[in-house]
């Protein structure tokens, strides 16, 4: 798998931190998040990220990407986490783009150049009410309608769906027992109804009701009618590991912020950082971050190397990262005391984002179950 050298990775990492540290301050974050009538993220910022080449990092060169590996995309997602960026990386660059790349025709894959250019926003609408985290629970049906299809069903909450240009919708082709296909559905198509709501972390998204939505034949990703659950599995795994990478960046920031806060906060005549109990807590936060970083790195590499145990490593990384995120996020608030409880400080927002990363695509208990059920895959 092509990927950048260590030096190029270091440069990418440095440029992310430099630009974001400079421009994406927490004050700026609040402005974007709270902009009245806004979409919950910054269009201008998205454009700038595109110009930096970040959106196309893992896309093929022929669509304007850098042909980097998932490790490189992971470096970007870690920075996304470190600054709790509000822009739709997961929905568009990770899930949406990989669905199109893996399942789309040559022509459909041309859309990826618009992704790389920051001109196309995507949302991956797969999960459904009643399915929980199960990946194969699809009740939405795409019945044939001439050369095209009519989609009917309900899709669960997806962050960013409210602003996506195209929804990528899974549906069973022909009947409720048919193979699962993936369809491009314009958000503005007739029959698409969104129930917009914020997630725990305040990011808007929506559930989607498809009431006889007519789409053309070319709305289906790929040409065959074969079952796409395998592709969906890969797309979700990519979402999993990228949410983990994001969490690792967020945890690193929480740990840093908490160390700094305790060094300055005076109580009982000395900085809180002088209390051994708090020192050890910070150590546990730091080591937890390091644990997650190490196993996420190992999983990214396994994906890039396409090793046999890659999926299992991704799931293991999810388990460990979720557990660490819970601990680090919770302690971030605890050690900030009352300050951790206000909406004005960043620490609570990191906590919320970590909670999202922890549960997106399945929580640690769910993956432990999957790991124990599919031990033979090891």
């Amino acid at each position: 798998m092509p990927s950048l050298s260590s030096e190029e990775r270091q440069q990418l990492h440095d440029s992310l931190l430099e630009l974001l540290g400079d421009k994406y301050t927490f004050e700026q974050w609040k402005k974007i998040a709270r902009s009245p009538g806004g979409e919950g993220f910054g269009r201008a910022e998205w454009k700038e990220f595109a110009e930096m080449g970040w959106l196309g990092i893992a896309l093929p060169e022929e669509v304007g990407g850098s042909a980097g590996g998932l490790t490189e995309l992971g470096i970007i997602m870690a920075a996304v986490g470190r600054f709790i960026l509000l822009e739709p990386f997961l929905g568009t660059v990770v899930l949406g783009a990989s669905a199109i790349e893996k399942a789309g025709t040559e022509q459909q894959r041309q859309m990826l150049s618009e992704v790389a250019a920051g001109k196309l926003l995507l949302a991956f609408c797969h999960g459904e009410p009643g399915g929980g985290y199960a990946r194969d629970w699809v009740k939405t049906v795409a019945t044939r309608d001439g050369a095209g299809y009519v989609l009917t069903g309900e899709k669960g909450f997806a962050i960013g769906a409210h602003a996506a240009d195209q929804l990528i919708v899974s549906a069973r082709i022909g009947s409720e027992n048919g193979p699962v296909g993936l369809f491009l559905v314009p958000r503005s198509a007739a029959g698409v109804a969104l129930n917009q709501a914020p997630a725990l972390d305040g990011r808007p998204g929506a559930t989607v009701t498809l009431a006889g939505v007519k789409v053309g034949a070319d709305a289906k990703l790929g040409t065959s009618d074969s079952d796409r659950l395998g592709v969906i599995d890969e797309v979700i795994d990519r979402g999993v590991i990228m949410a983990c990478a994001e969490a690792v960046g967020a945890m690193a920031s929480v740990t840093d912020q908490t160390v700094e806060y305790l060094k300055t906060r005076q109580q009982f005549g000395q900085p809180l950082s002088k209390f051994q109990v708090l020192q050890h807590r910070l150590v546990d936060m730091s080591v937890s971050t390091e644990e997650a970083r190490a196993i996420v790195h190992a999983a990214l590499q396994a994906l890039d190397d396409k090793t046999r145990d890659a999926q299992r490593l991704v799931w293991m990384a999810k388990v460990k990262t979720a557990q660490c995120a819970r601990f680090v996020g919770g302690q971030g608030i605890q050690l900030h005391g009352g300050m951790g409880m206000t909406d004005e400080l960043s620490i609570g927002h990191y906590y919320k984002r970590l909670t999202m990363c922890e549960t997106l695509f399945g929580d640690s208990e769910w993956y432990l179950r999957q790991l124990s059920l599919r031990r033979d895959a090891a």
């Binding site: 009410p129 709501a197 009982f268 605890q334 009352g338 409880m341 909670t355 999202m356 929580d363």
Partner: protein, 402 residues
């Protein structure tokens, strides 16, 4: 070990029935409905309910009879809380009945008792707690808000922070520094402040819940009669600690915790994984069982503390600390489990749904917004009333002599 006898009191069955019956008749349907939906009450709604309880003396049932209470035994108080919880009534208010009241009747003078106790008993007035300050969190005694004598008044200047429901409060009990030169615990007095006094500014703090519960309270030359001081000048730390022990026991509202578990059980039944309800899931059921074990343990610890309080007038500082530690951990554990269920609905947080009149469409189970609100709010449970770390310091020093 196992020496004290806690009598098993079946005579409470009648009392329980009375409470049930009362709630059935008296709990306003708007409150009942809001409680069911996890919606927040307006102050006037809350007060109207507290006044009804007050008509029976139930806000302060556990107070001694000599101070206007009903002299309830611990078991009766626990039974009362349980029945309220089961009836879907709001939790009891603690600022007046559990915190201010006992300090006033224990350390206050006759005039103060006459002035303040009836309002608490009747449920008319709302109290808040003026303890924490920007520079005094875990290190409460480092507080800087000062009260300087001027004739018959103190002139209060300074700032309190994290003041729950200060925007609703009629009165605040507060710690202020009356001696700027003494060692830090020794220059503190305990005073009662009428929140309508000129010079007080209450500024909201929006929490991570997105709700307004906490406040900053600023004092700019606020005149408080010296007659409003409880007990001796510069002895406020003693009363503060007495109150804290009561507060910590009060931090653990067993009926509320029981209600939370029931709520989670319900969430599990309403949430499906590949079409099957989570209430069929062995891992979730195991967690539920573990939470129930935690509840039983906290109840057992609580029974001990209430018995201790009955014998000696107050819970032990050590026992209260242990109870607060485990009770708040349990609360957080329960609400974490709730969140783990809600992940399956996309972790949507429709905080607007917490207010009456919202007419959006709920995503996921009806209690979703309430559970997430509570989860976020209770992150503070291991911080307020003295953080868990502070509780452990107290036990280390006081109980283990370290």
């Amino acid at each position: 070990m196992f020496i004290r006898t806690v009598e098993h009191d079946t005579s409470l069955d009648k009392f329980r029935a009375e409470v049930r019956d009362f709630c059935e008749r008296e709990l306003p349907s708007v409150i009942r409905e809001k409680q069911k939906r996890g919606q927040h009450l307006e102050k006037h709604e809350y007060i109207s309910w507290l006044q009804r309880l007050g008509s029976r003396g139930w806000n302060t049932g556990k107070w001694p009879k000599e101070h206007g209470g009903l002299g309830w035994e611990p078991a009766q108080f626990l039974a009362f809380q349980e029945e309220l919880g089961r009836a879907g009534a709001p939790p009891l208010m603690s600022f007046g009945p559990t915190m201010a009241g006992p300090v006033i009747y224990t350390f206050g003078n006759e005039a103060q008792k006459r002035q303040h106790l009836p309002g608490i008993i009747k449920g008319d007035l709302w109290w808040c707690q003026g303890y924490s300050e920007p520079g005094a969190g875990s290190d409460l005694a480092a507080l800087k808000t000062r009260a300087d004598r001027d004739g018959d008044d103190y002139i209060v200047n300074g700032q309190k922070i994290w003041t729950s429901t200060a925007h609703w409060a009629d009165w605040m009990f507060a710690l202020v520094r009356t001696d700027q030169t003494a060692k830090k615990q020794e220059g503190i007095s305990f005073i009662l402040i009428d929140m309508k006094t000129p010079g007080i500014t209450v500024r909201p703090i929006i929490g991570i819940t997105l709700g307004h519960h906490l406040n900053e309270v600023f004092f700019d030359n606020v005149r408080v009669p010296i007659a409003n001081r409880i007990g001796e000048e510069n002895k406020g730390w003693t009363y503060a600690k007495f109150l804290l022990a009561n507060e910590r026991v009060g931090n653990v509202d067993v009926a509320k915790v029981e209600g939370n578990i029931e709520q989670i059980r319900q969430l599990m039944a309403e949430t499906r994984e590949a079409g099957k309800p989570l209430s069929d899931d062995p891992t979730f059921n195991r967690r539920l069982a573990e939470l129930e074990v935690g509840l039983a343990t906290v109840k057992a610890l609580m029974a001990d503390q209430l018995a201790a309080a009955r014998l000696s007038g107050a819970p032990s500082l050590m026992g209260a600390a242990a109870l607060k530690l485990r009770g708040t951990e349990l609360q957080q554990g329960i609400l974490q489990t709730g969140l783990d269920v809600l992940g399956r609905h996309g972790m949507v947080y429709q905080s607007d749904a917490l207010h009456a009149g919202w007419n959006g469409e709920m995503i996921g189970p009806e209690s979703s917004a309430d559970v997430i609100y509570e989860h976020l709010y209770r992150r503070a449970a291991t911080i307020y009333g003295g953080s868990s770390e502070v509780q452990k310091n107290i036990i280390a020093k006081g109980a283990l002599g370290l």
